[in-house]
Structures are given as C-alpha cells and as structure tokens.
C-alpha cells in the first residue's frame, strides 16, 4: 500500500515535471515566440490601422533655450497613413504653413504662407525630427507594421495597470532606421501603450500613449508623449478632436494643393 502510494506520488511529480518542461519549452522555443510575436504584431497593426483621419492636434516641444512651445495644427491622413497633410493654425508666426508627406514620409514638402513658397525636403529626412519634435517622420508614418518589422514575444507586463504583451520589433530591410523597438500593447485591445526606440548606442527615446478615448467605435490615445533620453527633451502630442468618418479629398495631398485654401 505504502509502495503504491509512493509510486503514485512519484508518478505525479514526474507528470508535473514533464508538464513544466513542455510549458518552458513552449515559452523558450524561439520559433514559437516569433509566431506569437508575428500574430500579436498583426493584431496591433489591425487595431491601429487608420485608413483616413482628420484631427486637430496640439504639439508641445522643448526649445533649445529650455522653454516649451505649443503649436496647434489640423492634420489629415489617407491611404492607410501613406499620405498626410498638416496645417499650422497657431502660433501666428506659422499659421497657414503646411507640411505634406507622401510615400510614407519619403517625400516631404513645406509650404510657407508668409512668403508663399514651397520647398521639397530630401528623402532621407524621414529619419529626422518631424517639425522639430522628438518624433521622426518615420515614427509618425502609419504604414504597415507587419511590413516594417518582425516581432518576437518577450513577455507579459503591466503598463499603467493594463496587462500588456511585450514585443521586440526588429526592422525589416526596408523598415525604419532603428536597431530595434520594444513595444507594450494591451492584451485586450492590442493597442500600443508604450514604445521604446533603440539605436546602435542603446535606448534613444520612449513613447508613452495615454488617455484612451472611444471615438467612432475606435479606441484612440489622445495624448502621446515622446521622451528623448539623449537630448533631455520631450514632445507631447495631444488630440483636441479626431474623426475617421470623412475621407479627405485627393487634391489635398498634392504639391499643387499646398497653395490652395482648405475649407
């Protein structure tokens, strides 16, 4: 009887160990982690993909003198974020100036209303700071994440008391210029809550997405804060309003359209 009990006990331990081994193997198997990562990335991509939008945005930047400057703008996007147009509404100095991005940020035009001139920016600017913010043009481009990155699930963590999946994103050859990204996205809604951007020297900046609100059946972060750890600067982008209901007109995203009044 005693032997049987001992035998059963050993069997149970053995089964338990075997089970643990399977679980560990499942979590440590790189291909499985990558599969999960890819699935999660697709989920995030689907959840965050915006076909077209219109928003009124307030952007606060840190000037080189250390003070803060707030700029407000109207912003339109279309073609899944491949084209976008921003028009400054304040302060008065830049009111009416426009920035047109095409080809996911590869082609950028700046129109200055005061002098009525348009200038084309070089293609490599997509890596550069967008409008002086701590966002680069490629950070702001809303193209397909699954095309730009490969993902690996590295764990589950809480961000702002929300259960998140933590993914490591490696840029594809045609993808962004970073070394890698670490992204935390909600387990329930697959929306990004925090993104760390790494270059070859290490952590460069961190994006925090907070203040999620329900807009037209979509959950949208109304406040994005990018902290640049090297420059000790930060940029806050806040939506004052946003809608996905109305598709912007095509001419708005053309160079010639820059000189036209938008009603």
């Amino acid at each position: 009887m005693k032997n049987l009990k001992e035998h059963n006990h050993i069997n149970r331990i053995g089964i338990l160990l075997l089970l643990i081994c399977f679980i560990l193997a499942a979590f440590t198997n790189p291909s499985l982690a990558q599969d999960d990562g890819a699935a999660w990335l697709k989920k995030i991509d689907d959840a965050e993909r915006i076909t077209h939008s219109y928003a009124v945005v307030k952007q606060t930047i840190t000037t080189s003198g250390g003070s803060e400057r707030t700029l407000t703008m109207k912003s339109w996007s279309d073609e899944n974020g491949d084209v976008s147009l921003m028009v400054y509404t304040a302060p008065p100095r830049v009111k009416g100036d426009k920035i047109l991005q095409r080809d996911g940020g590869d082609n950028i035009w700046y129109y200055m209303k005061r002098r009525d001139v348009t200038r084309h920016f070089a293609g490599h600017t997509r890596r550069q700071s967008a409008m002086g913010s701590d966002f680069s043009y490629e950070d702001m481009a809303t193209g397909s994440m699954t095309e730009d990155y490969t993902a690996e699930l590295v764990g589950l963590e809480e961000v702002d008391k929300i259960d998140c999946v933590k993914l490591k994103l490696i840029p594809t050859e045609t993808g962004p210029s970073y070394n890698h990204l670490i992204i935390w996205a909600g387990k329930d809604d697959a929306l990004s809550r925090k993104i760390e951007y790494y270059d070859d020297e290490g952590l460069l900046k961190t994006l925090y997405l907070i203040d999620f609100r329900e807009i037209e059946d979509r959950k949208v972060s109304f406040r994005m804060e990018m902290k640049n750890h090297r420059e000790s600067s930060r940029t806050v982008m806040e939506y004052e309003s946003v809608t996905f209901a109305k598709k912007p007109e095509k001419w708005m995203f053309t160079k010639d359209g820059l000189t036209r009044e938008i009603k």
């Binding site: 930047i61 840190t62 000037t63 080189s64 003198g65 250390g66 400057r69 700029l71 400054y88 302060p91 008065p92 100095r93 830049v94 009111k95 100036d97 700046y110 200055m112 005061r114 002098r115 001139v117 200038r119 084309h120 920016f121 070089a122 490599h124 600017t125 550069q128 700071s129 409008m131 002086g132 090297r230 420059e231 000790s232 600067s233």
Partner: protein
C-alpha cells in the same frame, strides 16, 4: 587628575594676580604677531578653491589650469549699438594686448588665417558645397550660389541643424553684416560721391569678408554685445597677482569707456568674479563681524547690567579670533568661503566661555571671596565645565578634518583650532583682565566714593520702588539668576509628556519627510553674491551668445588625437561645440585629396576683369530668394525650437519671432525696397565690381592648397590650445547650454567621460563638489555624533547622558524642517550645517541635564529649579550664537547666507527642544524617582 586640575587652577590664578600685566602684554604681543600674519591672508572666495584636492577630475582641472591657464579668466563685455561696440573693441583690444600680465587676448577673430586656408579647413561635405556655391564670384552670382544651395537640399539634416545650431547662427551673423554693408553702399548715389575711398566708412570688402569668413568679433546673437576674452599670465594659484591684473584691465576699460559713453563696458570671468567675491565678502565680513559684536555687546551689557564686563568678556574672544586667523595663515595662507566667516562663528561660539566664567567669578566675589580665591573657584568649577564643553565642540569640528573637500577640511581645522585657541585666550587673558579690572575698580571706587555715596542717596531719594536702595553695579551681577518662565514651560512639558512628545514626534516626522524632499541647488551662480554685475553677466552670456560661456577641457597628445576626440565629443547630445587645434590644421590626407580640386578652382576665380554690367532686376530676384530661403529656414527652426537660429535670421528679415509680422527697417526688407524703388546704376556697378574683386581675392586666398603646420597658426590660436610649457593640445568642450540640474550635469559628465576619463570642467567639478560635500557631511556628522556620544557617556558616567542627545536630534531635524518651510534648497554650504549643529546644539542639553541631576527633590521641582536657573544661561548663550550665525545670514553671497540661516534656525530649535522636549523625556526616565 583632580589634584592636577586644582594645581593648574592655583598656578594660573597666582600668575594672574601676581603678574596680570605680564600676561596681558604676552597676549598682546602674540596678538600683534597674529594680526601681522593674518593681514597676509588671501581671500579665495570661489567654490572651486574648496574642491577635494585628490579627486582625479580636480587634478585634471588643476593640470589644465597650470599648463594652459584659464582662457576665460577675464572677459570684457561691451554692450551697445553694433558699430559702437566694434569701434570701442578696436580701441580696446590693442591696449589689452600691450599688457604684460595678460598671456592672451582674444578679441577680433584671426580671419586672415581663415582667408589663407579656408577651403582646406572645411570638411568634405562642406568643401564640395562651397566650391559649388562660390563658383560664380560676382555679386549676383554669389547670392545665386547660396540660394541654389539652400534650395538644392533644403534641410540638410535637422539633427545636424540641432547639433550645429550655434555655429549656423553665428555664421548667419556674417551674412547679416554683409547685407548691412551692401545695403548702405547700394543706397549711395553717384552724383554725391562714389569714389571707393570716401563713399562709406565701411567698405564693400568688409561685406565680402563677412560673407565669406563670418563675423569678426565674438558677437552676441542679437549683435548688441561683444566679448573680449583675456587669459592672465597668473593662474588661480597666484590669486593676488590675478586680482592685480583684473584691476589693470578695469583701469584700461574705464579709460577707453570715456570715449564711448554710449557703450556699457563690464567685466566678468572667473578672475573678475573672484575679485568681486573677495571685495563683497571681505567688506561684509568686517561689517557683519562688527554688527554681531555690537549686538552681543548690547545683549551682554543688558545681562551683566553694565558696560565694562561685556568688554572684558569680548576681549579674549577677539584675541582668540586673531590668533585663529594667524594660525590659518600659517596653515593655509588663505581664507575660503567656509573659513571667511570663521570670525563671526567664533564670536557666536566663544562668547559662551566668557559668559560662564565671568558669571562664576562674580558669584564668588559676591560670596565675599578675594580675587585669587574667586579665580581659583572659577577655574576649578565653571572653568572645567567650560573646558569640557569647549573641547566637545572643538572635537565635533575637528571631525570635519576627515573631509576630502578642501573647504570642509579647512573649515574643520579653522573651527576646531579656533575654538581651542579661543578657550586658550579665555583662560589666559580673562583672569588677568578680571584682576586688572578689580584693581582699577578699587582705585576708582576709592577716588569716587564720595560721589558714589551722593549719587546713591539721590537715587534712593527719588526711587519709585521702596526698598530699592542700591545702585546696580556689575559687582553683584551674575547670570545664575532664575528665569522662572523657562522653568514653568519646562514644568508643563514634564507634566504633560505625551502631549509634548506627540507634537515633537509630528515635527520630527515632518522634518524627516522634508529632509527627503528639499531640492538641491546645482546652479552655483545662484549661490554667488546677489547683485554682482560680473555674476549677472555670467548668466546673461549663455542666453545672449547661445551657449555656455565656459568649457570642459581635455589634453590631447597629438593633433590627430584632438581631431578624434572632437569627432567623438561632437556626437554627444549635450555638447554644443568642440574647439580643438585640429580645427586649424587639416589632416595630410585631406590636403592631398583637396589639392587638385583647389588648383582647378583657383583657375576659375583667378583675378580677372569683373563683369562689365549689373542687372538690378536679377539682383532683386536673388535678394528676394534669399529672403524666402532665410524666412523658411527661420520658420523651420521655429517649429523645431531652434531659437538661436530664429533670433539671428529674424534680425536679418525683420520678422517678429512670435507674430511673424515684419519690421520694414530690417536689412533684407530695406535692401529689397531699395532695389524695387531703383538704385543708382553706376553706383551699383561700382559696388558689384568691388564685391567681385574682393570675392575673387578672398576665394583665391582661401583655395590655397599648401599644407598648414603649427608654425603657421596665429598666436591667439596657439595660446588657446598649446601649453605654456611642455607638450599637449587643449581641447575645449563647450556644453550645449547652461546646465544646472543634477540630471543634466551628470549626463554631461557621463557623456564626456565616456570619450575621455580626463575631461575636467565646471560641470564635472560641480558634480564632484556636491558629491564630496554630501559624502564629507555624512561622514563628519556620523563621526561627530560618535564623539559626542562618547563624551556625554563619559561626562555623565553612564547612559543617562544619552538623554542630552534627544533635544539635539529634535533640534537638528527641526532645522531641516524649517529649511524646507522657508523654501531653502540644499547647497554645498548649508549641507555643512548638519555636522556643525551637532557640535553646537549639544551644549544646551548637556547643561540642562547636568543641572537637573544636581537638583534635589521631586521630579517636578527639579525640573523647575534646573530649567529656571540653566534656562537663562542657555538662552543667553543660544542668543549670542544665533547672533553670530544670524549675521552670516546677511551675507550677500547666498551660499554663505543659507549656511547662516540654517544654523540660526538650528541653534534656536535646539534651545527650544531642550526646554520643551527634554523635560518630557526626563519624566519618562525619572518617573520612579519623582
């Protein structure tokens, strides 16, 4: 031991009564010698003089100072209209260069050197662009070249723009100047006079120079301030000579200022600030010491009810201070910001010794003892207590000798030895003084007895208070009179221990919270004397010039190493600019690479006949394009927060930075309007010819392909980068901005040290200073506490002595709580208040506990009696100490003032804690006895 003490007391009393004048004369001779010595003390009031000497960063800094000097030792700042400040600088610079005491004067930039080697000094990207830009040296061709370049690749790289913000802004100052001269020249008409000599005081060739080579002076971004940097021969180590050079520079500046009343000329730089600090603190030290002395005198006069005894009480104290100053000269040769206030500190601390001893002497005299016996009793009784108390305080101060920071170490030595010397002066000078006073008093009384008798009668006759039939004299005045109010307060605490202790616990909890939440002051300029012009300028310069006015330094072993270091430093985000010898000496491979292209370029711009005509419409197009491009660049810079670029471009275009409105009187609108309205064609042609001629000459010179060596460098560059003796090349690493937060200072230190461990500069030193003071303060406080614990255990023969630490702890913590309430931040000076208060604040607790233990009766009676008696004394001694530290709070130098404020509050808090908390604690521990 007791016999020994008794023997010493008898001998000292005998000596004082037999040979009082001999003792006093001896003291006077030593004092005169000390005064002589102390007159040689230098006032080194800069915080950098108090740095830990053995720290590797400090060693690197000193090495740079010794080998290269301080390039920003004296900075002359001229403010006014652009033309006027340039004119004054033109007059001033040669005079300064004549000064033997100045190693280097950097005023007008060595533009001739850039004219001779400009293209070789460019990096490959800039080289290609500039060859293209200057391919057509005509007036219109030059602007067209620039506009094409702007539009070719509009935003070269915003990151680079961010990184090179200041250089871009500075280069645009040259454009501004060029446009200004061009506009003035184009506005002239042929019929008046267009001969090139008398047409305009500023010739077109200056416009071309400004356009190709940049602004010739170190000019602020708003073009209203100009700097001339002087490097004195003397270093900080030879402070007197350094100050003498500052004074000479001031004389010359003042002399030339008379010719330029519309220019404001001021001085700053480390040497000038050092002089200002010395003058400011020196004068304040004298005034505050006299003020403290007067206040203490008045307080004592009131307490002793007479005017002579306070003088006697203060005399040994003043003698002790002089002795201390003499010793400090022998030990250190100078005073620093910590030791400069030593006189006032000792005044506040040392007066306690005199008060206690004189009080006891008077008590004994009142009891009818003779002078000698009174002295013996005084020395044997109170003398021993004073000696013990003094030694405790001295020991607490001497714990600061473990400090690595020179300032802390010197303060510990000065305060520790100062207390010991003051004690010595009290024991050596006070007894003979009391003897002499009694002798004189007896003679006077004998002579004035009739008058005294008459006055006494009159007073008795008119006295409103019946029975008050004595004229108060100092003879019967002692400080052991009761102060019942303090006894009653202490009684309340004893009666309601839980109420008082609960309140104390709340205060302590708040203070502990405050301790964690008080901020740190890393902006050392905030600690400098208020209202100093040199300090205000120091703060203004980074704002006006767009970058920090001081640099970190590192010594490279070769030109190539300096080039590599520069490239590495430039990649760091907090580094604004790096100036190295390699900026002026191109690498050999670059010379080889550029040579054929430069020779080719030279052929195209070889001086030849300029164009024979000028198309004004084309010029207008290019000027309009320039306006477009500059304005757009400014808007981009505005949205990018690059305000330095915005400021300079807006100065050219006349754009109001926030509203975008245009000031038509700015140079570009004026030039455009001028061209639109029509200009004298012949004059314009003459201008264009002069422009092209000079441009060709400049470009020809700039495209010199010959290699450059150290020997070719202008003297001012050599003196900025080469050591006065030996080898090495100094690399200047300038922070992007004025850094004053711990986070940024640490990051700058981290970024620069990741390139080289030997980088040393103000930013690194601030971090070192704060960390060292924090570490020294903690170590010293712990050691002081240990010493105090041992001493109270020994003094009270058991753990009961530890009770005296309770008011000390409550008082010291309350000091921090009060600092928080009045909005103080920790700084490198007030951090030292913590170990200091431990040494000072313990006295009240010891005296009160001591007296309590000697009292008999029930607990409540013992508390009342002891606190009634001792309360008066500790109140008086606390007040005198508070006067001392309170005086320090009036220093204009914020660092010193904050130290004084902290200790003023600390001493007061320790007194209150002794009266309010100690009785409650005694109740808990003496309940069974009461």
């Amino acid at each position: 031991m007791k016999n020994n003490k008794h023997f010493l007391a008898i001998k000292l009393a005998e000596l004082s009564t037999r040979h009082p004048w001999l003792m006093l004369m001896t003291a006077i001779v030593i004092t005169i010698i000390s005064i002589g010595l102390s007159s040689g003390l230098e006032m080194r009031m800069n915080w950098s003089d108090t740095l830990p000497k053995d720290d590797p960063i400090v060693k690197s800094y000193r090495e740079v100072q010794n080998r290269f000097g301080d390039p920003f030792g004296i900075v002359v700042a001229l403010e006014g209209d652009y033309d006027r400040i340039c004119a004054m600088a033109d007059s001033l610079e040669p005079r300064l260069k004549e000064m033997e005491g100045l190693y280097s004067v950097q005023g007008r930039l060595p533009l001739d050197y850039f004219r001779e080697h400009g293209f070789l000094l460019m990096k490959p990207n800039d080289f290609d662009r500039m060859l293209r830009v200057f391919s057509n040296p005509s007036l219109i061709g030059t602007f067209r070249g620039f506009n094409d370049d702007y539009e070719r690749e509009y935003t070269d790289s915003e990151s680079n723009m961010k990184r090179d913000e200041v250089n871009i802004a500075r280069s645009l100052l040259g454009t501004h100047r060029a446009l200004e001269i061009l506009t003035t020249n184009l506005a002239l008409k042929t019929e008046t006079d267009t001969s090139s000599k008398s047409r305009n005081p500023v010739k077109i060739e200056n416009a071309v120079d400004a356009f190709t080579l940049g602004e010739s002076w170190i000019m602020s971004l708003d073009r209203r301030m100009l700097l001339i940097a002087c490097q004195p021969v003397a270093s900080q180590l030879n402070f007197d000579q350094l100050i003498a050079e500052v004074e000479k520079v001031e004389l010359i500046v003042n002399e030339i200022s008379h010719k330029f009343p519309d220019v404001s000329a001021d001085l700053t730089g480390m040497a000038k600030i050092g002089q200002d600090e010395m003058n400011s603190i020196g004068i304040y030290t004298i005034f505050l010491s006299l003020g403290a002395l007067l206040l203490i005198y008045i307080l004592l006069a009131r307490s002793f009810r007479g005017w002579v005894l306070p003088i006697i009480a203060l005399t040994p104290l003043i003698i002790g201070i002089f002795w201390t100053m003499g010793l400090l000269y022998i030990l250190f040769g100078s005073l620093n910001i910590f030791t400069a206030m030593m006189g006032i500190v000792l005044l506040g601390l040392g007066i306690d010794f005199s008060i206690h001893t004189i009080s006891r002497f008077n008590e004994e005299i009142t009891l009818g003892k003779g002078i000698k016996d009174a002295l013996i009793a005084m020395l044997n009784g109170t003398g021993v207590a004073v000696l013990t108390g003094g030694l405790t305080t001295a020991a607490a101060f001497l714990t600061l000798l473990i400090g690595e920071t020179a300032g802390v170490f010197e303060f510990g030595a000065a305060a520790g030895f100062g207390v010991l010397l003051t004690l010595l002066a009290v024991f050596f000078v006070l007894p003979p003084l009391l003897v002499v006073r009694k002798q004189i008093e007896n003679v006077i009384l004998l002579l004035l007895f009739p008058l005294h008798w008459i006055v006494g009668r009159i007073i008795r006759l008119f006295s409103k208070r019946p029975g008050n039939n004595t004229v108060p004299t100092e003879r019967n005045t002692t400080l052991s009179e009761q102060m019942p109010i303090i006894g009653k307060i202490a009684q309340s605490s004893y009666r309601h221990p839980f109420i008082f202790l609960s309140i104390t616990i709340l205060v302590v909890i708040f203070s502990i919270w405050a301790k964690q939440n008080i901020g740190f002051e890393y902006d050392f300029l905030n600690l400098e004397p208020k209202g100093l012009e040199s300090v205000q300028l120091q703060r203004e310069i980074p704002e006006r010039f767009g970058m920090s006015d001081h640099a970190a330094w590192v010594i490279a072993n070769s030109i190539e190493e300096s080039r590599e270091l520069k490239e590495k430093f430039k990649k760091k985000s907090l580094v604004g600019d790096v100036v190295a010898i390699s900026d002026y000496i191109p690498p050999a491979e670059r010379v080889e690479q550029y040579k054929p292209r430069l020779l080719e370029f030279r052929k195209t711009i070889t001086p030849q006949s300029p164009n024979q005509s000028i198309n004004i419409a084309d010029l207008l197009i290019e000027i309009n394009r320039l306006w477009d491009n500059l304005d757009l660049m400014s808007n981009l810079a505005y949205t990018a927060g690059l305000d330095r670029i915005v400021k300079v471009i807006d100065g050219i275009t006349g754009t109001e930075s926030e509203t975008g409105k245009v000031d038509k009187s700015a140079v570009l609108p004026t030039l455009t309007m001028l061209l639109e309205e029509g200009i004298d064609h012949e004059n314009a042609f003459q201008v264009a010819v002069e422009w092209e001629t000079r441009m060709r000459a400049n470009l020809y010179a700039m495209s010199n392909p010959e290699p450059v060596g150290l020997g070719d460098l202008p003297e001012v560059i050599k003196r900025s980068h080469l050591p006065r003796e030996g080898d090495g090349f100094l690399v200047h690493v300038v922070p992007r901005k004025y850094l004053f937060s711990k986070e940024e200072l640490d990051r700058f230190a981290e970024q620069t040290s990741s390139v080289s461990q030997d980088v040393a500069g103000t930013e690194q030193l601030i971090v070192v200073m704060f960390d060292s003071i924090l570490s020294d303060g903690k170590k010293a406080a712990l050691l002081a506490l240990l010493v105090i614990i041992v001493l109270v255990l020994v003094h009270f023969h058991g753990p009961i002595g530890l009770l005296s630490l309770v008011p000390l702890a409550a008082g010291a913590l309350s000091m921090i709580g009060l600092m928080f309430i009045i909005g103080e931040k920790y700084n490198y000076m007030n951090l030292m208040a913590v170990p200091v208060i431990l040494g000072i604040g313990i006295d009240d607790g010891i005296h009160a506990l001591h007296r309590f233990r000697n009292e008999k009766g029930s607990g409540i009676d013992r508390v009342y009696n002891s606190f009634s008696f001792v309360g008066r004394t500790i109140l008086l001694t606390s007040l005198t100490t508070m006067i001392g530290f309170g005086s320090i709070a009036f220093y204009t130098m914020e660092g010193m003032a904050s130290f004084g404020r902290a200790l003023f509050m600390g001493v007061g808090a320790c007194f209150l804690a002794t009266v309010l908390v100690l009785p409650a604690v005694l109740r808990l521990f003496t309940k069974s006895n009461s």
